[in-house]
């Protein structure tokens, strides 16, 4: 793992990988969303509203995956002091928050015609909203630590503690009575018809590649800022 701790080595990999991830992700997501909007059949019970799921499900997955990435990177930072782990955690926060907000917004837009309401305070929706607030807290905390020069271990601990919400989101539809349907996809199991399943998997793949590309771009930006600041400080000390 420490082989990748070298910023120069990270940049050698990240420079060509960032545009590849972003462009392939945008192409796959565009194709999957075009399929979802124009060619996917209407579902027997949900009718045309099922098309929203081609965007809602990937954003829900990435909202949770973003915080999982923060938690794993925080653990790596706290235990192994990996110098790029803090950047990976901070780089995952903004795209995670955006996809979490998109999940809530598209879920509300699905809920109005399907459930008759934009919002209910049930376990799944509320725990997802809590996740969005956790993202806001993490972004504010990490920004304050960078500005004020505090220890990066503080947001890392916050990232690790906040991960308790991820299994709560996942199991909320099983633990509590909910308007939200239980999981349609599991490891090796699916309750979905093929025209929806493959479109959904393609859309999820496309958005995941975009997410990875954005995280790499954010990490490169944070690393460049740190290196520029260090260089200017060194020059100021020399003169």
């Amino acid at each position: 793992m420490h082989a990748f701790a070298n910023p120069a080595r990270f940049l050698r990999i990240a420079r060509p990988l960032t545009p590849v991830l972003l462009l392939s992700g945008l192409a796959i997501a565009a194709a999957a969303l075009a399929y979802g909007l124009f060619w996917a059949p209407a579902e027997r019970l949900q009718g045309q509203t099922v098309r929203i799921l081609f965007i809602h499900v990937p954003t829900a997955w990435l909202g949770m995956a973003g915080w999982t990435a923060i938690a794993v990177a925080s653990l790596v930072e706290l235990v192994w002091r990996h110098p790029l782990a803090a950047l990976a955690a901070r780089g995952s926060a903004l795209p995670g928050a955006v996809f979490c907000a998109l999940c809530l917004a598209t879920g509300s837009l699905w809920g109005r015609p399907a459930w008759g309401t934009y919002w209910v305070w049930d376990g799944r929706l509320t725990s997802m909203l809590v996740l969005l607030f956790l993202y806001f807290g993490y972004i504010a905390l990490a920004g304050a630590v960078q500005r004020e020069g505090g220890s990066s271990r503080i947001p890392a601990i916050f990232g690790l503690v906040g991960a308790i919400n991820i299994p709560i989101i996942h199991y909320s539809v099983i633990w509590w009575n909910s308007l939200h349907q239980p999981p349609s996809l599991g490891w090796g199991t699916s309750h979905m018809a093929a025209p929806f399943l493959w479109g959904l998997l393609a859309s999820t793949l496309g958005f995941t590649l975009i997410f990875a590309g954005v995280v790499l771009a954010r990490m490169r930006a944070l690393l460049a800022d740190i290196q520029a600041e260090a260089r200017l400080r060194r020059k100021a000390l020399e003169s």
Partner: protein, 46 residues
């Protein structure tokens, strides 16, 4: 009696929001990365 709504405005709104926000996120992240890397190069040259 259950209210029946036309689903298409909700579908279009969800797609517009999802695609628009994703494109803004990608463009802003790319622009911020290029700007930060330019600042680093300028700091090296000084």
């Amino acid at each position: 009696m259950r209210e029946v709504l036309d689903p298409w405005p909700f579908v279009i709104a969800a797609y517009a929001l999802g695609i628009g926000a994703t494109l803004v996120l990608v463009a802003w992240s790319w622009w911020a990365m290029r700007a930060a890397e330019r600042r680093r190069e300028e700091a090296r040259k000084r």
